[in-house]
Amino acid sequence: MKLIEDANQQALARILEGEPRLIDIVPASQLMKGLRDRMILHAGPPITWERMCGPMRGAVAGAIVFEGWAQDLRSATELAASGGIEFHPNHHFGAVGPMTGMTTKSMPLFVVENARFSNRAYCAINEGLGKVMRFGGNDASVLKRLAWLRDVFGPVLGKAIRASGGVDLKSIIARGLSMGDEMHQRNLACSSIFLREIAPWMARTSVDNATLAECLAFIGQNDQFFLNIAMAMGKVMTDPANGIRGSTIVTTMCRNGTDFGIRVSGLGERWFTAPVEMPEGLYFAGYSEKDANPDMGDSAIVETIGLGGFAMAAAPAVAGFIGAGAPSEAGNFTRSMGEITVAQNPEWSIAAMDFAGVPTGIDIRLVVDSGIVPVINTGIAHREPGIGQVGAGVVKAPLACFQQAVRAVASDLGVS
């Protein structure tokens, strides 16, 4: 159908032509006019407190205490359960967040600008490994780290980013792919490249060597530091592709621990949801699938632009880490995702695939026709609030989301 093919080429071009640059770190309240007191943004499609999973509830309680809307976790939980908190998806505010994806007004956010289309997207700073809010952690150590990110690290790194004039992200991704990253469960190379680029600017703008050393060490000790930057980049690249009538290209994939949701270019802001699946993967010592929560996070935005599970061939070590099979089989994931995408990204190539570009532009028609669903590399959270990460694995997007979207496109175009 020519209308669809033309619309898809337009949507694809808008994704590929993006020029994402990290330009600042700014408190959320200064970036989002509608973000008020007692309002929490979360990962995934819209959800109410009653349907939230354990780690999401745990993170909500922690975020409430962090913002000072309640004195302790118990009263915070009561406040949320009584309807005292307004919940919205990050995606409705131009933002994304990993796992539980908590965003509240005082949290510092990365600002990524798309110079080609003059739009911006935001994501909170990665907290590091261990007990963290994105995996449902909410104790004093979690809140103390968030306060340090807000009061110390965010301002220090923000000043350095502004002084640098911004950091080009596409070139970091291109180098990271050649160094074994897929930008979802492995960000070691990109985090290191970013640190190499920003460290001189942090030194030039620093007024305190001890603080500078602390901030540099925080980046250097977190292999996943770059993930949140890559996520904001994914959001800023896909947003311009929204709203092209007839296009069947996916512009959003995300999950909230209960539902998986997608949005499609030709259908604008409309969500298509289905129950989210359980990741299959490997567990940390002492944990098993009995402890796992169904998948969650806005991080599937990286798969939406051809990274993560779609770029598995670039990161064979990840296949072993997440229990996705032998490293030699990593290329099968990328080849399979090529069956449901309309193009390759020539700027992001994979050496192990003879420098083929990452598969880009998920077409809902191809997903439903083939029965091949997007694969997403993911972390696994404990199903109870307050515990944190228990493993890593691969999760499949539910086919039902794509079937609903195909029917909606057909209805919109008057096809029956």
């Binding site: 159908m1 028609r365 191809l366 439903v368 026709d369 083939s370 029965g371 195909v406 057909a410 175009l413």
Partner: protein, 62 residues
């Protein structure tokens, strides 16, 4: 069809057989176990065999 050497399918199976298996992968093992060369083609019907969805996809250009 037949000719002076009998039905064609009988001649087909009289010599060495090489098989292309399309779809269900379960047949591959049985053929292998019989010492028959087989190449598997990973194929599924459109839309998992849902005729209404397949028809809709066809109208949408798949």
């Amino acid at each position: 069809m037949t000719d002076q050497n009998g039905p064609q399918y009988q001649r087909l199976l009289a010599g060495k057989v090489e098989v292309v298996n399309v779809g269900l992968e379960g047949f591959v093992k049985d053929l292998h176990d019989c010492g028959i060369g087989v190449v598997h083609v990973d194929w599924k019907p459109s839309a998992g065999g849902d005729p209404q969805m397949a028809a809709l996809l066809a109208k949408l250009g798949v």
